[in-house]
Amino acid sequence: MIRVQTEDFDPGAELEQLRRNNGGKAGAVVSFMGLVRDLNEGDTIRQMTLEHYPGMTEKALGIIETTARERWKLTDVIIIHRIGPLAPDDRIVFVAAASPHRKQAFHACEYMIDTLKTDAPFWKKEATASGNRWVSTPPVIG
């Protein structure tokens, strides 16, 4: 299930829907929730705006889901990404993978968010005290 939307989403409702559809098949659900941080490269972030490439975004996320389902045994997949203006602590992205086996769920979830961050056409513009700026490089991988 893939959604790109301006409005917020409810991770609990998404996980509950997945559980209701589970039918006893998946014992492991791994999810990643991305939140807006209040600091980037030493500057306080007041707001950010997410631009995307309509059409290509959905296509890129669809390829990510398909590839994950081919590589790992998954019973369900969720990818939700927001666009438009966001403030610190706002939810940006939610990715979940359900599998009979927990290692597969972990691998698939991590693969999907890693690949989303390099392949899906989203761009962040940050508002700081000294003005607006495009985030020019991917976030540090810790």
Partner: protein, 83 residues
Amino acid sequence: MVQLRFFASLRETLGVGDEQVVLPDDITDISALTGWLQERNDIWHTALGDSRVHVAVNQVLVKPDCAVNDGDEVAWFPPVTGG
């Protein structure tokens, strides 16, 4: 006609998001199309000359030797920063 699209910082630098152009006969791949657009002025030359710029044809990422045909949608954009 080819649909050109520019996103994020590239759109702001070039001052254009969408544009339609008639493809000259001798332009058959992305590399040539990019070079042709770079001839417009120094801003275009520098912005599209950045090696980090990504190109997508019909919403799929491609390499510079990818063919371009009448009716295609071609997009240039900086490295993505979503997630």
